[in-house]
Symmetry: C2
Subunit: 416 residues, 2 copies
């Protein structure tokens, strides 16, 4: 490999640190690291050590985020925030989250080695919870940082019946102090998050990295079709009100509505048939629709098309339809200036700058509440994530680090 | 009501006996009467009493069928067999089965009152098991009568782990003697079964009775589509192999294939989605297809069309399809002469003789192995069956009895 600003940016070095973090797990044969667990605290402590080795000050905040700071040319300057999350799902992959923290530290290490200070400070955060594995509620770490953590969440309980407040105390954290983790928007100039794609697009395009345009907004629907159950042998086709046949039309209508707009996805992931006997015409079907789009207008069109199709199908079949919105989250556009910055960094590093939306949620969604955000995606094998087989090649990890380093060093020009 | 050959043929009288049988149940608040139960034996005993009151000899056979005989003008003549079953599903309706036995006895009572003997004897059977509620295997009573009872069935166990053989012994029946229940085909001239329709056709046509053309044959398929699971947000529509979208196409293709032929039905009653999470593209779907037709050629065309559609859908979506036949039963055509006899009886009773197939199975399917069979359908409210709300009006019950009586008295002309 050619000249590199820090050996920590090399693929093998990045992989070494990813593996070191993966070894800090609640399960012996795989990776599970959840909010307010001993593992999560140990991972934060290891990351703090790495930050200090690379010339940063490091601390944990009140909720357990680990935060390092590499000072600017002038003390107290606004900071460019980098980072991602250190927690995981159960039986997780090792790259989802930590890659953004490890590459960010490597980039700061490159600044330290060059004895270079920027007009902005660089802060790196390793968020203590993004996945929401333990308590269901996601992005606890970034919510605390933006000051939008709702104390009502402290009453949520995990599978063992332990409340979030109690879990924090057992982990040596003070739930009453979470407000102290909130940062002022004025303290930051922007946020850059490097993360694995968790999808197949970069692999299909044979590119190691890409520039995220927006984090998709999402609408989740719960749909119930109620028709008329009946004997599969004795009710002629003409008189049927088959709830599953109606749902089948809806599944295909949702697929078609999503296909009609670029970058939009629609999925029926759950579908339950009642009564569910081989010789009984389904009287009721419940299913979900997960609808996502990088622009809220696209999502509104998608949801409208799906609702219209459901109404049309139900009316044509003499079936009752109920549609409930169970979740709604607007899209988070990446800041145009940060998109240009990242695209230029990819371009200068020698690859075409593919722009793609993120269909999955990321800390950047929450951080966007208080500052402009940008994201770099790194290719992962087969698009596989949330699975022990999740994998990033050394070459791709290094490509991500190089792009991030370029974006960081060019950022002050942008902020100027 | 006008002149009637026996007061037992009146709707209210039929209802009275249906209610008396419904009171003989394993559950206090509803009707459950299964094979080799004390209730089943008591019901058979009550029916035997009614048979004797109407001038018949009556006995139980080795498996627990109750059989009455009204002798012909000459002793030992061939018999016209009438009847249906006395067992029920769990939490059953009261008309499914007993109506055919109660109306048959009323018709013989009319012969007795008229001091009339026919050139054929009339036998009535109350089968001890048609539903298969207790041991899964259906039509145990008629299988014993035709001599096609497979002794291997005696090893089947009920939910309590009691074998069929043991259950029979506990009920005072001898499993080793079942072969003695077999009747010689030469003993019979034909079989007429009156049964509720268990479907909505007669109600829709505003007719109390109908003439069954055939009992539909049936093919059951178990289909598995295996595509590729993935994140509902990160996998673009274009690269998906969504097993549920494929299954949705198959559900609609099955519906369309059934609609393409008159009298044919096709139903997907069970469908299971894996992994079944709101935000995961379904990687695998398992579903059943229940395909029925009154002619085996129609069913063969239907099954062929469904298999072809499944293959086409799977190929177009890059999905693997497995299709297994889990059940196959040929159609049982009603004997043309008996269809004409019943149609003429309906016509003479003053209604248009609607001919319709039976989508559900009946004892007549099994009895057809040793003699020609015919069936009279009686309207039931809303087509509802296998449910406590199952209902036949007094007028319709009486209409059924009148048609059956006419068919019985005209039968000797046919046999001559």
């Amino acid at each position: 490999m050619t000249d590199i600003p820090s050996p920590l940016m090399r693929g093998a070095a990045i992989r070494g640190r990813i593996d070191a973090l993966a070894a800090i797990s609640a399960q012996p044969d795989g990776l599970t690291r959840v909010f307010a667990s001993p593992e999560q605290r140990r991972a934060a402590s290891l990351v703090a050590d790495w930050m200090r080795e690379s010339g940063m000050t490091a601390r944990e905040d009140a909720i357990g985020n680990v935060i390092g700071r590499y000072e600017a040319t002038q003390d107290g300057a606004k900071a460019l925030l980098l980072g991602s999350h250190l927690d995981s799902v159960r039986d997780a992959g090792r790259w989802d989250g930590p890659l953004g923290v490890v590459t960010a530290i490597a980039c700061v290490d490159a600044l330290r080695r060059a004895r270079r200070r920027l007009p902005v400070a660089v802060e790196i955060v390793g968020f203590c919870d993004e996945e929401g594995t333990r308590f269901g509620a996601t992005m606890l770490g970034s919510r605390a940082l933006t000051g939008r953590f709702d104390p009502a969440l402290l009453g949520l309980t995990d599978e063992a019946g332990i409340s979030m407040a109690q879990a924090m105390r057992e982990a040596g954290l003070d739930p009453d102090a979470i407000g102290q983790a909130a940062r002022r928007p004025e303290a930051f100039a922007g946020y850059l998050e490097l993360h694995i794609e968790q999808g197949p697009v970069l692999e299909r395009e044979h590119l190691p990295v890409g520039c995220v345009t927006a984090i998709a907004g999402q609408t989740r629907l719960a749909v119930t079709f109620t028709g008329m159950a009946g004997h599969a042998g004795t009710v002629p086709m003409a008189g049927r009100h088959d709830a599953l046949a109606a749902a089948a039309e809806a599944v295909l209508a949702i697929e078609a509505a999503a296909q009609a707009q670029p970058g939009v996805v629609g999925t029926v992931g759950r579908l339950e048939v009642l009564p569910g006997a081989v010789n009984v015409i389904p009287g009721r079907v419940r299913f979900t629709a997960d609808l996502r789009a990088p622009q809220d207008e696209s999502r509104a069109r998608l949801v409208g098309a799906v609702r219209a199709a459901i109404g049309r199908i139900a009316a044509a079949r003499g079936i009752a339809a109920e549609v409930a919105v169970t979740h709604e989250e607007p899209a988070t556009p990446c800041a145009p200036a940060l998109r240009r910055l990242i695209a230029a960094a990819i371009d200068e590093a020698g690859w075409p700058a593919l722009r793609l939306p993120s269909g999955a949620g990321h800390d950047a969604m929450e951080v966007a509440a208080i500052m402009p955000v940008g994201m770099v995606f790194v290719r992962c094998r087969g698009g596989l994530s949330h699975h022990p087989g999740e994998h990033v090649s050394d070459e791709d990890a290094e490509a991500g680090a190089r792009v991030l380093h370029r974006a960081i060093t060019k950022f002050p020009e942008l902020a100027a």
